[in-house]
Subunit: 340 residues, 2 copies
Amino acid sequence: MQTPTLRDVAEAAGVHAATASRALNPATRGLVNVDTARRVIKVADSLGYRPNPIARGLKTARSGTVGVVIPDLTNPLFPPIARGIERGLEAAGYSALLVNTDNDSGRERAQVESLLSRQVEGLIVATALVEHPLLEELHRRGVPMVMVHRRPDGFEVPSILPDDAAGVRLAVEHLAALGHRRIAHLAGPTTTSTGVVRARAFHSAVRDLGLDADPSLTTTCALWSEESGAVALRRLLDGGADLTAVVAGNDLIALGCYDVFTERGIECPADISVVGFNDMPFLDKLRPPLTTVAIPHHEIGTEAARLLLDAIGDPTRPSRSVLFPLSLVVRGSTAAPARG
Amino acid sequence: MQTPTLRDVAEAAGVHAATASRALNPATRGLVNVDTARRVIKVADSLGYRPNPIARGLKTARSGTVGVVIPDLTNPLFPPIARGIERGLEAAGYSALLVNTDNDSGRERAQVESLLSRQVEGLIVATALVEHPLLEELHRRGVPMVMVHRRPDGFEVPSILPDDAAGVRLAVEHLAALGHRRIAHLAGPTTTSTGVVRARAFHSAVRDLGLDADPSLTTTCALWSEESGAVALRRLLDGGADLTAVVAGNDLIALGCYDVFTERGIECPADISVVGFNDMPFLDKLRPPLTTVAIPHHEIGTEAARLLLDAIGDPTRPSRSVLFPLSLVVRGSTAAPARG
DNA sequence: CCGGCGACTGCAACCGAGTGCATCCCGGGG
DNA sequence: CCCCGGGATGCACTCGGTTGCAGTCGCCGG
């Protein structure tokens, strides 16, 4: 026999399907006699009964799934978040439907439609793109959602993001403690909120700590990539910038610095120290291992799941956002400057 | 109004719901008058009608989703496969439900049950674990499935896996062409099929090319990890093995070699060349960049999707397995040996 | 002894789409 | 002129569970 249905259970227990349904559902179990309920439950799992979520969903308009929209699963940032989300959902019996958008807004729209038509009850969106339109529309349609790593502007959505500003400050403080005074910043693209926030945090940290706040020590990368990082550092160096340390917008940009170091025979950390951001995997395998700011991706994921479940449970609940503390992972790419 | 239903469309088009259903479904469209069909279709998309897959699934027992079982999404091997799978599915209108098992067979069982209860039509299993029982049971239950990166023994399931033997041969040939004759192999654990296959391939390649087939040049790692790799290489070196190159069971093991090189002041590639396996991300950032065998993960994913769709379409079709050709990515960790 | 209340349980109508079968209508052939 | 055939469409039931409502029964108080 195929998987038994509710009616099979009911029949085997000698009750009506409706009663069996109520007995099996903890929320309605109170409506049926304790003994009957017990009997039904026993029969149910002796038969190996598993309720069919499809059928249940048809009536209740609930599917037990949420959609997770990710720009690029191969970006090492996202898998830990995805796992965190799964973990956060599973306790509530929900599961996650993951989709990739490849940062293409057409694909994103299509994927989201597909999720919605599959009756996901909510969305966790981890996009870096600055495209409001789709998100805003979904928000208006009343689709419960949570944003990860990005706060939408213009409308209220619960979001959960790393405390980038505090992270940058940790990096700068670390370098300052080592004795660095002329610290450069290779900022991420200004088209991303992260890039802007980190750059701003860098400047105020430098100012607060009384370090040399020389505008010629800052430049912006066109992309979050190694090439852009290398280009940016070359630009600084060729401009004659006098620096002993670099705070990179993220790890990839820091990796670009490594390329320039090799190119020009610069020793790291002896000549220049570098701090990255994100703590990608395998950073400890580099020569030298990269000091970086670690983001608790997994926790961010579980928290996102929690927020979404809350929003699904009570759509009127005011949107609440969470800022996650970061930590500095000190490795071999930072040391005291060689010269004063 | 919420998303329109089939009945809304039917009413708006002035026909019965059944007719609308037939008109909208390409397979049954021939049963209805061409003009009626056209009209229904026009009304449907002017209303923005999207069939509800839940309802459809209830009747047809088809959900348009397949389950993808992955041991660990944070292992960089899997995300590209997952993307490939999604790509392969989307053309057919299917989507993927991803789950992590964390290599825990209890979790795996629970996750698979959850997938099954969500009416997935098939499973793509990318597990390294050697636990037949669950898989065999599913196979008996007639659940369509495809295995990735592993061939089950004992029963017939379509599987799709990289041609490890050919990959190892490429590596050995590359080293031989550079002039190496005493090549070591740090094999992966013998508990994994991959470990065994690669080791066997290594030996036959060495023999076929007439290189020094010294058994003291081979050893086995306890795990697929850097630590195990380092331990293994130390064992070889301490045993006085005379070698000029290493073929590592995978990239992590190769990374372990790097640690030993630093430890003992060995220059790579001047003193010893190393070849990895898998082409993990960011290998090109290492010092020196690691030469490795690349696996076309994405293609493997799309192919897995295709096989599964085939199996779903025709469950009686004999199981067919695919071996994927690999390629060698030559970087800086291999060079001609310093001495003969 | 009867009315009534409350605890259980059964009935039946859904949810939204798919589908076997009956029906209807129209044209053509006998 | 009638009947037959077949294309087009509608009816009604089904998938598996949920749920409002109604009915049953036992028990208590008046």
